[in-house]
């Protein structure tokens, strides 16, 4: 006996209602009835959605990484990274050698560039050279690897040039990216002052001469300047 078509309508409506409820209820209902294929459909859709979103996120990550690859680290992060054990040891040795960090250059591009510039801030005395030599030796014991050896070679080159007499490394540029390297600006110890520096020097000398000619009694007797009154 064939079922009456009128009797089929409520059944189809029931199925449709069940599908809609399933779409809305999602995986919870599917878990309640795992064997129900109709109820499994919403779960498959959810998984597809999650997969799509994670793929997009992955593509985003890749793109982000690619961008960060061509963008060098910021000077701030470089300065912070210089405080790690290897970096700080090199910075410390350069400090003992009389050099101080002057600039961090950062180039953005397809081939990024990062370099540290150091300038000489003081000449070394004999005792300073001995102390530096000992510290390099201790560093060699602590860090015997190739990176450490390269760092020591940089410091030793500076010491060799500066202690030879006549010339000094006035500026040191340490390149980190794209390829590591060091460049030394070597200048004679006694260089002619530039026009501006020369003017400043003459002004200092003039003030110095004036101060020296003031009798000490006069300085002591001079009344203290009172604060300006309104």
């Amino acid at each position: 006996m064939r079922p009456n078509s009128r009797m089929l309508r409520p059944a189809a409506a029931l199925r449709m209602a069940t599908l809609l409820i399933g779409l809305a209820a999602g995986p919870a209902l599917a878990q309640q009835n795992p064997n129900d294929l109709v109820n499994d459909r919403p779960s498959a859709l959810g998984t597809a959605w999650a997969l799509t979103m994670s793929s997009l996120s992955w593509v985003g990550d890749i793109a982000g990484a690619a961008i960060s690859y061509v963008t060098p680290p910021s000077p701030g992060s470089l300065a912070a990274s210089s405080k790690d054990e290897d970096g700080s040891e090199l910075f410390r040795l350069l400090g003992l050698a009389g050099y101080k960090l002057k600039e961090i250059d950062s180039d953005v591009g397809i081939i990024p560039g990062v370099s540290f510039k150091f300038a000489i801030v003081r000449e070394l005395s004999e005792a300073d050279y001995d102390y530096l030599d000992e510290q390099i030796e201790l560093f060699q014991i602590r860090r015997p690897g190739m990176v450490g050896e390269l760092q020591r070679a940089i410091v030793r080159t500076i010491v060799a040039i500066n202690s030879a007499g006549g010339m000094q490394v006035s500026d040191l540029k340490l390149k980190v990216l794209p390829l590591p390297g060091a460049s030394f600006t070597v200048t004679p110890n006694a260089t002619v002052l530039g026009e501006e520096a020369s003017m400043i020097m003459r002004a200092i000398q003039r003030v110095d001469r004036r101060v020296r000619t003031i009798p000490s009694a006069e300085v002591k007797a001079a009344p203290a300047t009172s604060p300006p009154t309104r």
Binding site: R122, S125, Y129, Y131, S163
Partner: protein, 324 residues
């Protein structure tokens, strides 16, 4: 054989030579101890035997630049022997208060001028507790080796200049000679006394007569000889002992080296221009010479660790040259 170098090392080298000459192992060599700097300059002048010294005794390690110069003139032919270490310590009278001085505090007590507001003002600190509150309320008085003594240079290099590396106002002076002058010029208001030779005898007498609060700077071996009068003070938080010196925990130490030209050493076939160098090398590295109870240690040398002595001996007896 010609030996040159440090005046500080002269007594040690003379002892070794005397030992060898008395046993008729070597003929008396020519010696000229005019200082480390001059010694190394003479030593590295040329490789020609008899034209330049064969041995140089140094109160520091040969610097890379000096070594390179030596290599240019001598080929790769320099043997490095570390004899041991030398330590300077602070002592006070046995019945005195316990001091625990730090290096910056000690520097502030002895120098002529102190930094203040980026200027230098005369040092008028009168008592130790004015330097640092935790120190005893006793007047500052310090006895140091007189100028010209090897220990004075050591004191200036390792105490005073070391302290100045942490002082901003001094670190910012560019010219080395000006900076060193500012750093090592001592006060002249009667609080610093200088002890000349014979140092040990004069120091003992000075410490017996010294008022409370007097601190003296002395080589550790001399301090050990007068423990009936003085006590050794911890310095910068470390008490100087043979162990703390050997492992360099106590920082006021300097290494003592002897360098020999390898090309001048006679080999076992008797080939080589200068007699006695191999015997000298052997004697310098023997345990009875530089070991903990060796005769140089009795004279004031601080021994290296056992492993380090063994390494020095092995390298020297194989005539291994410096690799730096």
């Amino acid at each position: 054989m010609v030996i040159v170098g440090s005046t500080f090392l002269a007594p040690y080298i003379q002892s070794v030579i005397e030992n060898l000459v008395t046993r008729k192992v070597i003929a008396p060599p020519k010696t000229e101890f005019a200082g480390t700097g001059r010694g190394v300059s003479d030593f590295c002048r040329t490789r020609e035997p008899y034209a330049a010294p064969d041995v140089v005794a140094m109160s520091r390690r040969m610097r890379q630049a000096e070594l390179d110069l030596c290599r240019d003139h001598n080929g790769d032919e320099v043997i490095e022997i570390q004899l041991g270490l030398s330590a300077l310590v602070l002592v006070a009278r046995r019945d005195d208060a316990d001091f625990n001085l730090s290096l910056p505090d000690f520097w502030r007590a002895v120098v002529a001028e102190l930094p203040r507001d980026v200027e230098f003002v005369p040092n008028r600190l009168a008592a130790w507790n004015a330097v640092e509150e935790a120190l005893p309320p006793l007047p500052i008085r310090v006895l140091i080796p007189a100028p010209g003594l090897g220990s004075r240079g050591f004191f200036e290099d390792r105490f005073l200049e070391a302290a100045c590396r942490g002082i901003f106002e001094i670190k910012t002076i560019f010219v080395a000679s000006e900076r060193v002058k500012q750093c090592i010029t001592l006060r002249r208001d009667g609080r610093i006394g200088e002890i000349g030779i014979p140092f040990a005898k004069n120091l003992r007498e000075a410490m017996i007569a010294a008022p409370k609060g007097t601190v003296a700077v002395a080589p550790l071996n001399m301090a050990k000889e007068m423990l009936d009068v003085v006590k050794v003070l911890p310095f910068d938080g470390v008490t100087p002992t043979q162990e703390s010196i050997a492992n360099r925990e106590y920082a006021f130490v300097r290494p003592l080296f002897v360098y020999v030209k390898r090309a001048n050493v006679k080999n076992y076939n008797g080939e080589g221009p200068v007699r006695g160098l191999r015997e000298l090398i052997t004697e310098l590295t023997r345990e009875r010479t530089i070991g903990p109870s060796g005769y140089l240690v009795k004279e004031g040398l601080e021994p290296l660790t056992t492993a380090k002595r063994q390494a020095v001996r092995n390298a020297a007896l194989k005539l291994e040259t410096v690799e730096r």
